[in-house]
Symmetry: D2
Subunit: 336 residues, 4 copies
Amino acid sequence: MSLKLGVIGTGAIGQDHIRRCSQTLLNSQVVAVTDINLAQAAKVVADLNLAAEVYPDGHAVINAPDVEAILVTSWGPSHEEYVLAAIAAGKPVFCEKPLAVTAQGCRRIVDAEVAHGTRLVQVGFMRPYDEGYRALKAVIDNGQIGEPLMLHCAHRNPRVGEHYKTDMAITDTLIHELDVLRWLLADDYVSVQVVFPRKTSKALAHLRDPQIVLLETAKGTRIDVEVFVNCQYGYDIQCEVVGETGIARLPEPSQVQLRSEAKLSNAILMDWKDRFIAAYDVELQAFIDGVRAGQVGGPSAWDGFAAAVAADACLDAQQSGQIVRIELPERPRFYG
Amino acid sequence: MSLKLGVIGTGAIGQDHIRRCSQTLLNSQVVAVTDINLAQAAKVVADLNLAAEVYPDGHAVINAPDVEAILVTSWGPSHEEYVLAAIAAGKPVFCEKPLAVTAQGCRRIVDAEVAHGTRLVQVGFMRPYDEGYRALKAVIDNGQIGEPLMLHCAHRNPRVGEHYKTDMAITDTLIHELDVLRWLLADDYVSVQVVFPRKTSKALAHLRDPQIVLLETAKGTRIDVEVFVNCQYGYDIQCEVVGETGIARLPEPSQVQLRSEAKLSNAILMDWKDRFIAAYDVELQAFIDGVRAGQVGGPSAWDGFAAAVAADACLDAQQSGQIVRIELPERPRFYG
Amino acid sequence: MSLKLGVIGTGAIGQDHIRRCSQTLLNSQVVAVTDINLAQAAKVVADLNLAAEVYPDGHAVINAPDVEAILVTSWGPSHEEYVLAAIAAGKPVFCEKPLAVTAQGCRRIVDAEVAHGTRLVQVGFMRPYDEGYRALKAVIDNGQIGEPLMLHCAHRNPRVGEHYKTDMAITDTLIHELDVLRWLLADDYVSVQVVFPRKTSKALAHLRDPQIVLLETAKGTRIDVEVFVNCQYGYDIQCEVVGETGIARLPEPSQVQLRSEAKLSNAILMDWKDRFIAAYDVELQAFIDGVRAGQVGGPSAWDGFAAAVAADACLDAQQSGQIVRIELPERPRFYG
Amino acid sequence: MSLKLGVIGTGAIGQDHIRRCSQTLLNSQVVAVTDINLAQAAKVVADLNLAAEVYPDGHAVINAPDVEAILVTSWGPSHEEYVLAAIAAGKPVFCEKPLAVTAQGCRRIVDAEVAHGTRLVQVGFMRPYDEGYRALKAVIDNGQIGEPLMLHCAHRNPRVGEHYKTDMAITDTLIHELDVLRWLLADDYVSVQVVFPRKTSKALAHLRDPQIVLLETAKGTRIDVEVFVNCQYGYDIQCEVVGETGIARLPEPSQVQLRSEAKLSNAILMDWKDRFIAAYDVELQAFIDGVRAGQVGGPSAWDGFAAAVAADACLDAQQSGQIVRIELPERPRFYG
């Protein structure tokens, strides 16, 4: 039987997920949708030819009797409310990042889920579902490079628009590394420092770009992440793990090798959407399969909370120029 | 609605396809199976928990009223009979390679399909569905390297067993290149020559290994394919297209780059099953989607026939040491 | 003490070698020069500020009492005469390729040198002095890939001028592979076949380009060399040796890796002069050191003869389209 | 005419340089040597068959009438004394690193040279003579990647002995980056911070390994250098320059590419001596050529001083864990 999904929010990412669930993934169907703009929600239903009802708001979607699980793809500030409501209704919920716009909001979700007693929440961090990161983690976990000591990472975009402010380097960009590197290392952050190199002339006046974020983990591993969102040349995600006996590097996306015009070259992607497109399918299929098997897995509410706590410290570090401690409360036994 | 499939042959590849259809792909279900060993067919149904009936033979599967399309995954010599029967029944049929064990057999299928008047047959050549080959074809078709002039290819296996004879380098190994290179170049073969280099000491006494197959196409493109099935080091598929202005190379499978033990290295696959595993999913989904849309596509009976004609000439060339002409009759307009 | 050199021929390559001997290499000085154009010889002496006498012809250079060794860098058809004269005078001679314009001419030199009783002649094949080829040979000789079975090679130039005719693909281009591959494999050629792929539209009307030369060695190793002199994209020399247990590939010239404009790229050289520039220094230093030590080494007159015999067969094969035998007389014991 | 050299110190590096000058380089001869162990100096003269006199001490070498230039390759603490004496004698001097064991010592040399009025001193930093670094600098200087904003570097050794202490990560290892990166960027350091990742279990108890050194330049460029001297897998020097429009990476040493044992691999060097061996020849030839042309160039006393000032700050930063300012006095106009 297909899993019956209710979708809250039919903007770009909401539409992508609806399309996925109805056209690409196995064993799911969208039966309920809503959006702050109801006309748009109705149009999406019509355009995609869905057998889905349009509800007046998220709570109505959550409480619709045929809805078995919820996708929260609405405006960030509304996530917490809907995730808490889904937990209250005892329904599994996949929530796009951020889980909540504050660490406290994430904590409230954690507490609600723990009180509920079984996992209901999967956060929409897709990188742990990327084949490259999984291969990298396998190399580490197999002991092929010994214990990890240092990570050298980069998150580069060709360019960003005027809306992109200095703090978004943390909340919109680095947030993916904050999640995936915890998962990769099975470790927690304990401190962070942000340094600002010479600013690129390609960035708008209001934006400090690039930035380097220096993280330390509980085990003492040191991570440097270059965040450079006007690098011009491509969307480029790098992750190199230096271990005691060797170094492992995240694969570059597979490309045709060309010899032409005095260059031996491989294309670099320009659009971030192309980079992790397969991972979005895999993460959502994992949610669907998990719910159907009675075992929600993947990035948890605790992971969302931990990323939020780290992000808050990074924002402090951006402002202060100091080394900022990252204090994560003890992990509830519930989260393993 | 799911496409209802009947599967003839529940050996290794049959089971793989049944598993695909019932667990991985969209919009298909297996409702009928048979095998020369009926007990095994029944066991597969039970093991995979299928709601499928076991029929006494392939013809019963083809004629079962609820069966909408057929997968032929039986012993090679039986393919022609079942494909012809499926055409006679007007039901779409996906046939694992070879389409038939002789070129004449393939021709009979072509004639039957043409007489039927619409495409019903897709041959199980999976490489045109491989992401790497598709990217390579896109580079050629976009004109990034100009007109193709030469192809340098290799098909290497770590080792083969005692059953593998010299002619199987053509019929089991090269057959994939014979198909995919025609598709890649949109061209036909006109001659072939086979040369035998110094034999590797790693091959059994009865086997000539490696071999080099030299093909010429109608447009004059020259292709060399090294077939080396005891190369020891890995399963390695290479394809380099030399065009008028540049060279494009089939991507290597994506791997974690390692620095360890005085080597900068990427793993090479050892098992052919890992190399094109995604392509098998894509080809069969394409068949299912095609049937549901009323448009069977992919490698056609004509493609199967053309590969068989070329393979026969390669076998002659192996024997004679001469340059052998490859004469393909005019392509029926039906095949575009 | 510096070795006192006489140089016959002060064209481009002659001037290069004179500059090398007087400015770059150790232990040599140019004391005598000549050229068919004596004024130009005088100008070179003046421009490079050499303490060298200009002689009326090559024989005068050879016989000048202070000249200890000869460099023959004159017009190809004159090489044989001067090399024979140097041998007659008992003076070591470095001769630019070709050693002679016919195989018989080379044979006469071989016979004269054997009669003389010690090695005097080094032929100007520079690739065996290239660091990359030497590293490749070391990998083979160390047994890292087992016995060589096949070589896949390419010799590509961006473009050639109108003077370049179809036979020059052998005599000017392939000649380098004919020499270096014999050395690499320590083996001799026994047959050759030339095939002509579809012609590139970038070649002039009179030229067949590309060509593929298929060689077989005494040990049964099969070699394919793509000769493509209007490939547009670069000067590119490829050599891949397929052995019984692995494959070794000639290093690409070392380059800065760039990420820019949606490409991960390394530059490919456009000018052949940049490709083996270091090897020219090494080969000539080896000659100088060899003479001073009383042991001329490097590519011998026999190697020059063997290359000429192979080249003649290649020219036959170009014309006939047939597989042509390459018959090399027994190697005199003198050449080891 | 050959440049007549006096060499002070005939230990390992002294012998290497003597061998270079007498056997590999152009236009130099060693006419005078000394060592704290005079017997050893005499043995070197005899072993290398030099026409050189053994003097009782460095001052005697400097003042020997036929000595035209000096190589200081003695014990580090003696460098300052001999360099100052050479300047006093008005003789050009090539001094192995360190120029002096304290920044003040370097400064005294700078002051003496400025007082002398022309350049006499070249410091033995060889990396600016490495072909790879030169190619990297050319890419930057040509504007191919825009203004440099960040450098990600690594200096890794397979392992170190018991004598290697934590501060030697700066004075013996990082010192090469401190020199070459100033040259590469044509910029000066203004601050440094050192962080200590989780210690590798492969390091001896007394050593903190790895370390990460974070430098800031006057132009605001940020540099991170990983120093990891027990990395096990190889001697590996990495330098990646992130510019406004692209990224350039120091070439890996050229190697034969191998396919064997399920790996596509290139060898990584294990011995640091192999990595920059050509650069040592080039730097010393540059000194010889410079002296003969009356123009000493290359790394200057000022560069040696600047490296020493930066190294002192790095040592402070190691101890304090703080961000330490690097204050370099104004550069004398003399140094351009």
